[in-house]
């Protein structure tokens, strides 16, 4: 049973939508006030920055209290940790419920972190109770997965569903007797099952709550299947596969690396599903990057340039094609900017690929043999690259 009523959930989303319209200049301030009045919400919310800070300090309090109790009671064995973590888990959940009930907190950081801590502590408790090595970790993962799902069902925290999914997907990797292909296939099957369960709900509800939540979970499951099956995304994976790299499983995963982005893009475009669209584009880029190693072809230094040209060409061509449609729209898609909430993120990203390393000296040798690592901002301007 959900902690927040359907009316509250829908009102919160409607308010966000109205504010976005106001921000985009589609309605004026007085109209926004009028429309917002139609969605009264008595929940206490805050902005994302304070939410993150509150979550951080809540985690700090919970961790400190648990360790404090362990120290005071001198509980250092498994039984003591099991008891304290178990009790703390229940306490966190009770406090989260009480805060929501009393103060009507909604995505406030505190209640979210308490719910997260409740699951983590329960997992620790179960893990300590289950004393054997691998089994205890599997038990912790199963508990985390189930707990995350329960927290999502109760409070509607999409990140909890995501965490639950991740824990479930990691479980097959803990069984030493499973072959690597089996681990990956099983993990993909778990994520695929989640996808199959969520997709009909997403299709049924669309963007209306809780369809928006299902949309994010669906996209995450889709991306998860891809991550598990693309053997060349992380170098360690393929090394672990060793001689079996050329077998049937290997080529099945290669096919899947092409199939998944294609299917995802098709569904995302057909349904105008933004989370799935973003994940599908990311998967497609991942496939372009990993295809050469998959086929055993040599990677060239200019490959990123080709990728860059392709990405820019796709973006410009799509933009042009959409803009030339009647009223700048084709099949319901437009390249025009409507909402303006993503500007700051890109600005902050801009300096990220070129970190500053101010105190590395220029090469002393007049005829160095090669470029030697990035040095500074400005794309390495002023010395060796």
């Amino acid at each position: 049973m959900r902690r927040y009523s359907e009316t509250d959930e829908r009102s919160v989303r409607a308010q966000a939508e109205i504010r976005a319209w106001r921000g985009a200049g589609l309605i004026d301030a007085s109209q926004a006030e009028t429309l917002l009045a139609g969605y009264p919400v008595e929940l206490r919310r805050t902005n994302v920055f304070l939410r993150v800070a509150l979550a951080f300090f809540t985690a700090l309090v919970v961790a400190a209290v648990v360790f404090f109790v362990l120290e005071v009671l001198n509980f250092h064995d498994a039984t003591g940790v099991t008891i304290v973590a178990g009790v703390a888990s229940v306490a966190c959940l009770v406090v989260a419920e009480a805060l929501i009930g009393t103060f009507r907190l909604y995505r406030f950081g505190v209640e979210e972190m308490l719910a997260a801590c409740s699951v983590i502590l329960l997992s620790i408790s179960v893990s300590e109770f289950w004393t054997s090595g691998t089994s205890s970790f599997v038990a912790a993962l199963v508990t985390s997965s189930a707990g995350g799902f329960a927290v999502y069902r109760r409070f509607g925290f999409v990140w909890a569903a995501f965490a639950s999914m991740c824990c479930a997907a990691v479980i097959p990797f803990q069984f030493a007797r499973l072959p690597i292909s089996g681990e990956r296939a099983l993990s993909a099957a778990i994520l695929g099952l989640i996808l199959l369960v969520v997709r009909p709900k997403r299709t049924r509800d669309g963007e209306e709550w809780p369809g928006d939540e299902y949309g994010v979970i669906q996209a995450a499951a889709f991306g998860g299947v891809y991550l598990v099956l693309n053997l060349h995304l992380f170098p360690d994976m393929i090394r672990a596969l060793g001689d079996r790299a050329g077998g049937w499983f290997y080529w099945c995963t290669w096919i899947m690396t092409w199939l998944l982005p294609a299917v995802g893009l098709f569904l995302a475009v057909r349904d105008k599903d933004r989370p799935l669209l973003i994940v599908s584009v990311a998967m497609a880029i991942g496939t372009l990057i990993s295809n050469k190693p998959y086929l055993g072809w040599t990677r060239h230094e200019w490959d990123p340039m080709l990728l860059g040209v392709l990405l820019v060409a796709v973006a410009v061509a799509l933009r042009r094609w959409l803009s030339n449609g009647p009223d700048g729209v084709r099949y319901g898609f437009t390249a025009a900017r409507i909402f303006r909430d993503k500007d700051s993120a890109l600005t902050l990203l801009s300096a990220a690929p070129f970190p500053v390393k101010p105190h590395i000296h220029a090469p002393a040798s007049p005829a160095p043999s090669g470029f030697d690592g990035g040095r500074s901002g400005g794309a390495g301007g002023g010395g060796s690259f």
Partner: protein, 312 residues
């Protein structure tokens, strides 16, 4: 479909016009689905991937490609980007300006990165400035600043600030003004950045750039002072940290810029905790301190959130 029915109701009640109803209904029904953000993200990734590939290619094959061809290519790329920007861009204005077209900002960004690549290559191959190679950083930074202001581009402004940080750190380090102390360099750099941003803001020049300056300045200053507190037994850095953190929190609350509140709280808490826990070795006291102090911070943040930061 409650929002759609509400739109109909608002139209019938006269809360929104027919035209607004049409536009909003199209958005809610996804008859008009904007992919602007996704396309710009693709552009950004494309530019970054291209530059990374160009750097890697030059690094590996510069002997085979030849200096002249590399320099020519990079110069042409930079020149073509500038030509495009000057020929397509609107005339300079102190106020915030819209990009004239979709790819404009990224073409300028691409040109700037190419320029940085070119200067790096020049120094690497020809060592024109010898030990004074850091002047390339200053030159790059100046060019980026000029272009950022000329074309109202925050991407390029961020590049300018990071490049200036590189020059500043290297310069002061080499001059041995504050031997071994990166922190003082960092504090001077952040003061300079904040003062520059404030001066431009006061002069009414690209006032919307101020926040980019302040994000960099506040983070660098707080990071420098908090590491100073961690490493130093004197109270100088602690006083600086308290002042900076307090100013960040107060300014953030006053102007509703909550990232600055969070910077102030996090860095300030780290510094204060370090000072208070010095010499404390009992685990119970340490855990007790964190339990109590973090609770106090939560209460303060909740009060601030309720009073100032209700929504994003």
């Amino acid at each position: 479909m409650s929002l759609l029915s509400d739109l109909d109701r608002w139209r019938d009640a006269g809360a929104i016009t027919m035209q607004q109803h049409e536009v909003l209904t199209a958005l809610v029904r996804k008859d008009r689905f904007s992919v602007f953000t996704e396309l710009t993200a693709l552009l950004y990734l494309g530019v970054v991937a291209f530059i990374a590939g160009a750097g890697w290619t030059i690094q590996t094959h510069f002997a085979r490609l030849g200096d002249a061809s590399i320099l020519l290519t990079l110069t042409v790329a930079f020149g073509a980007s500038l030509y495009y920007c000057f020929s397509h861009g609107s005339s300079y204005s102190h106020a915030q300006q819209e990009s004239p077209d979709f790819a404009f900002d990224y073409i300028l960004y691409f040109g700037c990165l190419m320029f940085g690549l070119e200067l790096g290559f020049v120094e690497f191959r020809f060592h024109l400035l010898q030990d004074r190679w850091d002047h390339y950083l200053l030159l790059t930074s100046v060019v980026y600043f000029v272009l950022a202001y000329r074309f109202d581009n925050r991407l390029v402004l961020s590049l300018a600030l990071s490049t200036l940080a590189g020059w500043f750190g290297f310069r002061l380090f080499r001059l041995q003004w504050f031997a071994g102390s990166l922190r003082v360099d960092a504090l001077i750099y952040s003061a300079l950045v904040a003062a520059t941003g404030a001066a431009f803001h006061r002069a009414g020049i690209k006032k919307h750039f101020l926040e980019a300056y302040l994000h960099v300045a506040v983070n660098v200053a707080l990071a420098a002072s908090v590491t100073g507190v961690f490493d130093s037994s004197t109270s100088g850095y602690f006083v600086v940290l308290l002042g900076l953190a307090g100013a960040a929190i107060a300014g953030g609350l006053q102007f509703r810029r909550f990232p600055f509140v969070v910077y102030g709280v996090l860095y300030g808490y780290a510094g204060i905790s370090d000072v208070l826990l010095r010499g404390v070795h009992e685990d119970t006291k340490i855990f007790g301190y964190f339990a109590v102090s973090a609770t106090v911070v939560i209460v303060c943040l909740v009060v601030a959130a309720r009073r100032f930061g209700r929504d994003a």
